[in-house]
Symmetry: C2
Subunit: 151 residues, 2 copies
DNA sequence: TATTTTAGTTGTATAATACAACTTGTTTGC
DNA sequence: GCAAACAAGTTGTATTATACAACTAAAATA
């Protein structure tokens, strides 16, 4: 086996990723100042804006989350009238989740805010650099997702 | 103002970062399978391994966390005998936090495990790509940190 | 039809975090 | 030199995100 302690880039990636992850809990910095939608809700609405309706199960599969987690997140969005649910016509167990107009407006607004934050965080980066970074992040995420899929 | 919706790289970065952040709560994938040390404890021990002792306040400043947060994290590490605290000699308010030998062994072991995870996640990446990615992550993190510093 | 499978909810637990209230020391200012 | 102000930490409380287990209800299957 290769000596992992002799790969400074790898070490730095490990360190920087864990530091970045820590920011996840740090709402004010990365989630936008005045938003009233959190990470989970944002991601769900974002997906529902593209494809709606989706069942709770489908959302959970898409994000590789436990159904119970998504169930609660949907409940929170529903309480705020950002999504609606209807019982599946052909299957009474299924809850079809629809994004509401208010939900669409919310997600558009929040996305705009978030893009402004990122634009300012990445001020000074060339388009080339941003494209490369986006690609690297995507590669890492897809790999993490594929690992997760194998339990 | 530039039209942010016309910058696909920026949009992708925004999306991939939020997706990656979500993994933060997903311990099994990124924190290593059999570890018994979580993100917060790992980062603290890692720092203490380099410079020890540090006061609770100093740790909080370093990580830009609330002192109460660090106080609890230290308590957890102390319960597991990975750190020790001594009252400051010149200032009875200060708690000097020392990493123990067990703490050092733990962090070395966990770091090795984590590097193996990252090595496998980044299998197929060239050294050049890893170096560029590390640099990009570091730039983003430093920028996030500097924003945070301005409250 | 009886059994099994599937969709979703609810109970419980954990990790990480912030803010506010509090205690205990240390400085400072008169 | 003492009272007031300040600083370091801890503890109480709340929030977000999550998983796993136990449960209910509906559908599929045998």
């Amino acid at each position: 086996m290769k000596d992992l302690n002799r790969d400074p880039a790898l070490e730095q990636i490990e360190h920087e990723v864990v530091m970045l992850l820590r920011r996840a809990d740090f709402k004010k910095t990365l989630d936008g100042a005045e938003n009233n939608l959190f990470r989970s809700g944002y991601l769900i609405l974002n997906l529902l804006q593209q494809t709606s309706p989706l069942a709770v199960r489908e959302l959970a599969d898409h994000f590789q989350l436990d159904v119970s987690t998504v169930s609660r997140q949907i409940k929170a969005l529903e309480n705020r009238h950002l999504v609606e649910r209807r019982i599946g016509e052909h299957d009474g167990r299924v809850n079809q989740i629809f994004i509401t107009d208010a939900g669409k407006r919310s997600v558009v607004k929040l996305k705009k805010e978030r893009l402004m934050v990122y634009d300012s965080l990445l001020a000074g980066w060339s388009e080339e650099e941003k494209a490369v970074f986006a690609d690297h992040l995507a590669r890492l995420n897809r790999k993490i997702e594929s690992r997760h899929r194998l339990h």
